[in-house]
Subunit: 305 residues, 2 copies
């Protein structure tokens, strides 16, 4: 199969990297995953990490384009790909790519830029811009808010291929921090999945949606409920998750129109967000994140100089 590969698409994140071999017709014919994320690599280790993954997909001497999105282009990554500045048209994403050399190979590597925002709240993204371009490709003409749940959730205003503004909510990271390091860990010390999780989630989501300005106070309820009402760890974990997601969605509620909000992220997380959007009288539409990243890398490749 490998001889049919025309180019290689790579999503290089902080914790791992995913690569796909794409044939001339645009179909995925092979894929590989590695734990060599940007966060684990010194600058000089990137070429070898890429070669190891490419070798799983194609013969070592092939001449191939490799198009990379994500943290490999960060300042602390392989080679910095300076941000495009929002508002910007993502159909030109490839023009901002940088091209590190991988010695001893015939790989033509392009690392796509991220997008930054200077006015109206400084912000940065790397990787999500490619997914947004992919969404524009598979949902042509979509105009409105896009939600990308995760460690650092992004909310972007998209008008076709144009991104006008975006924000970042530290929701996923906050959940992990509070679960692992805060006083709330005492209330989450046990099985976090269980019959009480859903009720805790609903309670937290309602509280977050109704009073997003009171997050700092409502967090502590995970502790007080365990002490006073004997709430088990699964309830407390659900409450914390629901509270954070509800608070995040409430902060963006006024920007949500009547169209369903595209949700790009892990299927589990997108399901939770869709539920809370429903509680807020809105609708979510779960989009396959691999499909959009591949569509985005393909579209970006067309504009690489």
């Amino acid at each position: 199969m490998t001889e049919t590969i025309a180019w290689i698409a790579v999503d290089w994140g902080t914790s791992n990297l995913r690569a796909w071999g794409i044939d001339a017709g645009g179909a995925v014919v092979a894929s590989a995953v590695s734990d060599q994320g940007m966060g684990k690599l010194a600058r000089e280790q990137f070429p070898a990490a890429l070669k190891a993954v490419v070798n799983e997909l194609a013969p070592p001497d092939d001449t191939l384009d490799v198009v990379i999105c994500g943290m490999a282009g960060a300042r602390q990554g392989w080679l910095e790909a300076p941000y495009l500045e929002a508002p910007t048209d993502l159909s030109e994403l490839g023009r901002g790519a940088v091209h590190p050399v991988v010695e001893g190979t015939r790989l033509n590597v392009s690392i796509l830029p991220g997008v930054c925002q200077r006015e109206g709240g400084e912000n940065v993204m790397r990787g999500e811009e490619t997914q947004l371009l992919g969404l524009a490709a598979i949902s042509p003409g979509y105009s409105g808010l896009v939600c990308m749940p995760g460690t650092h959730s992004k909310w972007a205003d998209l008008e076709g291929t144009r991104i006008t503004r975006f924000s970042t909510a530290m929701t996923g990271e906050m959940f992990e921090l509070l679960k692992t390091h805060s006083v709330l860990r005492h209330s989450l010390n046990g099985p976090l999945e269980g019959p009480e999780r859903e009720h805790g989630f609903q309670t937290g989501a309602r509280a977050g949606l109704d009073h997003p300005d009171m997050l700092l106070g409502q967090l502590f309820r995970a502790r007080a409920s365990a002490l006073l009402s004997g709430r088990p760890p699964d309830w407390c974990a659900g409450y914390l998750s629901g509270l954070l997601i509800g608070t995040e969605i409430a902060a963006n509620r006024n920007q949500i129109g009547t169209d369903p909000v595209p949700l790009i992220g892990s299927a589990t997380l997108c399901g939770l967000y869709a539920g809370v959007l429903g509680m807020a009288g809105a609708t979510g539409r779960v989009v396959d994140s691999t499909e959009v990243v591949l569509a985005g890398l393909k579209a970006a490749r067309a504009s690489i100089a």
Copy 2:
């Protein structure tokens, strides 16, 4: 001097304990501090930790009352002193005390209860109730909100010696978590005090006061500002501190009346809170936290059964 000690007042927190020898006239004649906080001690280690501190203040064979507030009365402390339930009159605080025995001494030990709230948001406090009773003693007749900034800030509605409701904001703990463990740590990696700190603090406080519902999004600006505008660690630390305090104060803004809000806590922190209260069009009044805890322990002692 030690022979003049009539009783011993103890504030036993999670990280340390403070003890004062009080004479018959109510004056402090000696004091001691120990790092043997509740968090470091197994149940059976509390008596020895108390004896070590008392021995710094008084001869070992004295018959003495010892009145303790704080985490020594928690479930995971020395001996649980069950919560009083708000609304409650703190002038009866001593009636809820428990009395562990310290073998081989003539100490009459009382551990004061904390206060819990079941309706209108489950919540708990241990130690602050004694400070509130002390505030009522030194500011008789005060009625209104009291702010107690700290790791877990408390906001309580006080009517004389009566506490009607309270909340807990995880502000101080959140600052430490974000500074130490989150992605923001990269932007706070350097001297956190410096010429830019004040501007960062003002910027963050304004953002928190104006948009308390957007905390999860505004936190990330500490990172984006460092990446895009080269904000140094002192600016980012000030921004994070101001943002969290501003968000906390905004959540309580509607409950603040025209009287100055008593602020009980570390002098540095109370100064920051007073500044942000001023930005919100309110006023803070810094109260000496040692004075109120001593006044509270003294007042509580009078009601011990």
